[in-house]
């Protein structure tokens, strides 16, 4: 506490007096519904009223018990009504500041401000100011990042260069995601739990539906249902993508990268460019077919996978490439040709992909019963798919090293191209399974403190694995184990 004398404890926005009770009531809905049911059953509504009042009081009390202060050395957050908690962060550990405002917050002009130190913060360990007034945010952000970024005030005043802006055409990549399907499954699950399915049982809707299905026949019903689900999931995916990424803007102010997106719920991330160690271009198969890609940042102190590191959602591949090339100032790493991994690696892709169809064929042959023709047709189709997969996987495989960058590309269904700054690599592993030793290939793994921490170059010829490492990291080349013969 003595580390920050002079700094005042400040409270969150008083408007949270409205938000907290609502959130608290929403959180306690099962209890409140339970007491309501109990009250109507016993004819005594007092319990329900008492519970409601207590819940609202808790919400109000949360505002009075939460306070924060920004001291010269660290920032502190005091929370808790019954169990008091003080969370302190040293200011020089602050790696990024992100903001998030959901609908209710936006209506009241509020913003949640999150401070990340790059440690894997648990839910309650995270430093979040929920919430401050939106007008306060630029000032707080500047103050919080001041220690780790030393920004020029003018640079914060004048908006920097815009690297990418959301375009309507980006929507074309979103029907191909599984978001919509996941939402439908979740909704159906919720409906079943809520007892809606039970309510539908034997109701008029179900009976007329069953009669309709009877008239159509099984096959038509299944196809119709599939089409309906597919269309609905595509629409939901597009809608979700529009709402969460609409008016996305990626802006660079000197050493800071700002990402802002969302129509209803606005989120804003701030990245420290000096912690950028590269980027990953992701091309999921369905997005790649339409010439799209997405871009993730590889940064120290930012979680490697998932939303925290996302720079661009699925968009035109050229856009993603241009932005990455701009960020890492190394167009060759982003677009340059890759060195292929040779016949042994290709052979391994093929044997792996065709193993499953081969086993299936053996099983079909071994079964004493007469196999129906459709089984062979399905197997043939499956084999063709596997062969295409093998072809694509072996064509994806490649790496590139030089100019201080390591680039590795792998995968087909989830093709990724990792571009990693060689100075950020702090360890190398050459891994060989028994099969890899026999095939004369090895998997080279670069360890970094950034992103997902390990980046793999899959199935490089064993004899060049270490030379790739040596070319990227001088300390490998000059170590006493390096064979200088070549």
């Amino acid at each position: 506490m003595t580390s920050s004398p002079g700094a005042e404890w400040s409270r969150l926005s008083p408007r949270m007096l409205l938000v907290h009770p609502v959130h608290e009531v929403l959180r306690q809905i099962p209890v409140i519904v339970g007491t309501l049911v109990l009250g109507s059953a016993t004819g005594n509504p007092t319990i329900a009223i008492v519970v409601l009042v207590v819940t609202v009081a808790f919400g109000v009390a949360r505002w009075f018990t939460t306070s924060y202060r920004i001291g010269p050395g660290d920032i502190q957050l005091r929370t808790g009504l019954l169990q008091r908690k003080v969370l302190s962060l040293p200011r020089n550990r602050i790696r990024s500041v992100s903001t998030d405002s959901r609908l209710l917050h936006r209506l009241l002009g509020l913003t949640v401000l999150r401070v990340s130190t790059g440690q894997e913060a648990k839910r309650e360990g995270a430093f979040a100011l929920d919430a401050v007034e939106a007008a306060e945010v630029p000032r707080l952000r500047a103050v919080l990042l001041a220690d780790s970024l030393t920004p020029d005030t003018e640079e914060f005043a004048t908006p920097g260069r815009v690297l990418a802006r959301w375009q309507l055409s980006w929507l074309r990549y979103s029907p191909l995601s599984f978001t919509g399907l996941a939402m439908i499954v979740a909704a159906v699950g919720l409906a079943y739990q809520g007892g809606i399915a039970a309510a539908l049982q034997d109701s008029g809707i179900e009976q007329s539906g069953a009669a309709f299905a009877d008239r159509l026949g099984v096959a038509t019903t299944v196809i119709a249902a599939a089409v309906v689900v597919l269309v609905a999931s595509s629409l939901l995916s597009v809608l979700q993508s529009l709402l969460s990424y609409g008016n996305l803007e990626l802006r660079r102010d000197a050493e800071v990268l700002h990402l802002k997106h969302g129509l209803l719920r606005v989120r804003e991330h701030t990245f420290d460019m000096r912690r950028l160690r590269g980027g990953t271009l992701r091309e999921p198969l369905l997005v790649r077919l339409f010439g799209g890609a997405r871009l993730d940042a590889v940064m120290t102190g930012v979680d490697g996978a998932g939303e925290a590191s996302m720079l661009l959602p699925p968009c035109q591949k050229s856009t993603a490439e241009t932005v990455l090339a701009d960020l890492i100032v190394q167009p060759d790493a982003v677009r340059g040709p890759l060195r292929r991994h040779g016949p042994a690696a290709t052979r391994r892709r093929w044997t792996r992909a065709l193993a499953l169809p081969a086993v299936a064929a053996v099983v079909l042959l071994a079964v004493p019963l007469p196999t129906p023709t459709w089984a062979w047709v399905v197997l043939a189709l499956f084999t063709v798919c596997c062969a295409l997969l093998a072809l694509d996987r072996s064509r994806s495989l490649g790496h590139r090293v030089g100019d201080g960058w390591l680039v590795a590309r792998t995968g087909s269904v989830q093709r990724t191209r990792d571009c990693i700054a060689a100075p950020g690599i702090i360890g190398w592993t050459v891994r060989q399974t028994l099969m890899q030793r026999r095939a004369g290939v090895a998997t080279l793994i670069a360890a970094t403190a950034a992103g997902v921490k390990h980046y793999q170059v899959v199935d490089v010829p064993a004899e060049i694995a270490w030379s790739v490492a040596a070319e990227a990291s001088p300390w490998v080349a000059t170590s006493k184990w390096a064979d200088h013969s070549g």
Binding site: V430, R431, S473
Partner: protein
């Protein structure tokens, strides 16, 4: 790239074998109990016994010797370098200038036989280098050497 030169302690295969023998012995005891109290399905007992014998032979005899042949380690003034594994073999190198912590860890069996494992961690969770089954005096020397060199560096190590 050459290989690291130093083998682990000569007692390493023995310790690894004992470590593997304990669970396999428990399994064998369980099977004896099963054989005594269960009277039917003798062939099932026989199959389980055969699997146990083969498994314990592999894991108590073959694997420790195999690992002893693979495991090597080396420390220079700039880097620490190891080779480990048996079916899946790994060679791992990390620069000492980026080392963050050096830990020594000794399990009950290690203590009984005077062995120690040294783990060298860097800022990357994927880059930790582990030198297993060293004699205690060798491990102490390695730790002293590593901390000596690592203390010189004052960078962020990321």
């Amino acid at each position: 790239m050459g290989d690291p030169t130093n083998p682990p302690s000569r007692k390493a295969p023995l310790v690894w074998a004992l470590g593997a023998a304990i669970p396999w012995a428990l399994l064998a005891v369980g099977q004896v109990v099963w054989f005594v109290i269960g009277h039917s399905r003798l062939w099932l007992n026989a199959v389980a016994a055969a699997v146990t014998v083969v498994g314990s032979l592999v894991f108590i005899v073959v694997v420790p010797l195999w690992r002893y042949r693979v495991h090597r380690w080396d420390v220079s003034s700039e880097a620490v370098y190891t080779r480990s594994g048996w079916l899946v073999q790994e060679r791992r190198i990390a620069p000492i200038s980026r080392v963050q912590t050096v830990d020594t860890e000794r399990g009950p069996l290690d203590r009984l036989f005077g062995l120690a494992n040294v783990t060298v961690t860097t800022a990357s969770s994927a880059g930790a280098v582990r030198i297993v089954a060293l004699d205690v005096d060798v491990a102490d020397r390695v730790v002293a050497q590593l901390t000596d060199i690592a203390a010189v560096g004052d960078e962020d190590a990321t």
